[in-house]
């Protein structure tokens, strides 16, 4: 926990949608600029709510969210968000989808076009610039959604179970892709901070440099695990002993939280 103003910081953040029934409580979290963090936890641990609060879509009931020392007051292009369903604009072409945020920012047409082309090449979809999203596969749609979020050069990229709906092979492709994006997507060379929510512990360990395990009822940070795997990480690393050890550790933590959650549900009066 550093007190440096750079990066993302959650201070005593809590959320109650129903008064007296907190979904998240006392969450303190610092993510250094350029870090890659995965948040895992049993269902109902408030993972998505946490991301929603960083995005500015869900106002916290208590505490505050700070980005580079400034309190987050609402959604903004400095924090790009990608959901499990790509949520593209179905009437806009792939290029127009990616350009949406740039239009809102008032970027002139020529600069917009150049940036969109660069991004689409980067995500490997240059040849589909003129296609409508309905014609794309699930993986391609997710790439467009990520490119669209990156178009505004966000400080933080928020990924809410982005590959949960994809088949296993596509999912692995996308994991490599996100890593790639994180490494070299901005022309200036500055990495975006990535905060990703997932329920897939293998995915979390493979992608993140730090894994945050949330407990449930209410969601709190139960454990932070630094992932000391070497960089860059090829897919084969998933079979290494070190990887499997870390993964088992994370899995045990999540499973324990899940069991505890179920026991509380069973014990709760109907």
């Amino acid at each position: 926990m550093t007190s440096a103003p750079s990066g993302l910081r959650l201070e005593g953040v809590g959320k109650e949608f129903v008064p007296g029934r907190p979904v998240l409580q006392d969450v303190d979290l610092s993510v250094a600029s350029g870090d890659f963090v995965c948040v895992v936890g049993a269902s109902g641990s408030g993972k998505s709510t946490l991301l929603g609060m960083v995005a500015g879509l869900v106002p916290p009931t208590s505490g505050r969210v700070l980005l580079d020392g400034r309190e987050v007051a609402g959604p903004g292009p400095d924090r790009g968000l990608v959901f499990q369903t790509a949520s593209l604009y179905p009437w806009r072409t792939v290029a127009q989808n990616v350009a949406f945020g740039l239009e809102a920012l008032g970027v002139p047409r020529a600069a917009r076009r150049e940036r969109v082309r660069w991004l689409l090449d980067e995500v490997g979809l240059g040849h589909l610039a003129g296609a409508l999203p309905g014609r794309l596969s699930g993986g391609q749609q997710q790439r467009v959604a990520i490119a669209r979020a990156l178009a505004c050069a966000p400080r933080v990229l928020l990924l809410d179970e982005p590959f949960g709906a994809l088949d296993v092979q596509t999912k692995e492709d996308m994991q490599l892709f996100v890593r790639q994006v994180w490494q070299d997507v901005t022309p200036a060379g500055e990495r975006p901070t990535v905060v990703m929510v997932t329920h897939d512990t293998e995915e979390a360990v493979f992608l993140a440099r730090r894994v945050i395990v949330l407990s449930s009822d209410p969601g709190r940070i139960s454990q932070e695990i630094a992932i000391g795997l070497p960089e860059p990480r090829p897919l084969e690393i998933k079979r290494s002993a070190e990887f499997l050890r870390i993964r088992a550790e994370v899995e045990d933590l999540v499973r324990a939280e899940h069991r505890a959650h179920q026991a509380r549900v069973a014990a709760a009066p109907a």
Partner: protein, 291 residues
């Protein structure tokens, strides 16, 4: 294109173009079990054949009944007599004049109704306070039959054009408002959230996200309500008018010219069909992305 078409209009607007951009629509079709269980399909050729039959069979029955001589031609003129009456009216120029009068009223009344109802419905679908403020009033007004307002409208506005246009507006505006609001509410919440994180202001989201997403549904609503407008213009002209297709029907009734009444009904049906097909094409063009 009359009562039957007007009936299901509440539902039509709520079935919008696309939900999420669901990727694998084709799979549903190829799944042998689901298609068989849900619907049976026919080939394109068979479909066209059936479409022709749906027009030709009633025509043939009509022809057979009138040719059998069992029904007085004053009640049921033969198709050829109706055709002749139609040609006669067209040649005399009165048909074109009446048609122009009726279409003009539709353009004014329906156009005005759309100009009022689309922004109103859009507001109801997007602004949190507009929904509870407007829905009860509009919901009640919708159930008041517009035709019942005719006497009142004549007292207020006289028997001129104003009362006819007002009847059309009354008949269309409430339904179209609610159906527009429904179409607007179909926009997925996630799409709005994503737009906000991309830095789009609320007006920008309304104009660049909600409106294009809802537009096919809004056109659907208009298509269904255009049929209602067509009904109301004829009703208005039946009551008090000196021109228009409805007026021509009452004139023909006075002289027991049932062949002319039939000819005008056919014209009304055909124009309705043209309006319907035009709006369908427009919707297909605007909502290309939705299929």
């Amino acid at each position: 294109m009359t009562a039957a078409e007007a009936m299901p209009r509440q539902d039509a607007g709520t079935a919008p173009a696309a939900e999420e951009p669901a990727p694998r629509r084709a799979k549903l079709r190829t799944g042998p079990l689901t298609t068989k269980a849900l619907t049976t399909s026919v080939s394109a050729r068979t479909a066209w054949l059936l479409r022709c039959l749906s027009i030709l069979v009633p025509l043939a029955v009509w022809q057979a009944v009138s040719a059998s001589g069992r029904v007085d031609p004053a009640f049921l003129p033969s198709p050829s007599a109706v055709w002749a009456a139609g040609v006669d009216m067209a040649a005399g120029g009165e048909l074109a004049a009446d048609l122009a009068a009726s279409l003009g009223r539709i353009a004014a009344g329906f156009g005005l109704a759309v100009l009022i109802s689309v922004p109103l419905g859009f507001a109801m679908g997007t602004l949190g306070w507009a929904q509870p403020l407007l829905e009860p009033a509009v919901g009640i007004l919708r159930y008041l039959p517009a035709s019942a307002f005719i006497p009142l409208l004549i007292i207020w506005l006289g028997i001129g054009e104003a009362s006819k246009v007002a009847l059309l507006v009354l008949g269309v505006v409430f339904f179209n408002t609610l159906m527009t609001a429904d179409a607007v509410r179909q926009v997925p919440h996630r799409l709005l959230e994503v737009s906000a994180t991309l830095g789009a202001s609320r007006p920008r989201v309304a104009a660049r996200v909600v409106f294009p997403y809802a537009l096919p549904g809004i056109i659907d609503a208009m298509r269904v309500n255009a049929a209602a407008a067509w009904n109301f213009v004829v009703v208005a002209e039946l009551v008090a008018a000196t021109s228009g297709l409805g007026y021509r029907i009452t004139r023909a009734q006075r002289f027991l010219q049932t062949d002319r009444i039939f000819a005008i009904l056919v014209v009304i049906g055909l124009i309705g069909l043209v309006i319907d097909v035009t709006l369908r094409l427009l919707r297909a063009r605007v909502g290309r992305w939705a299929r």
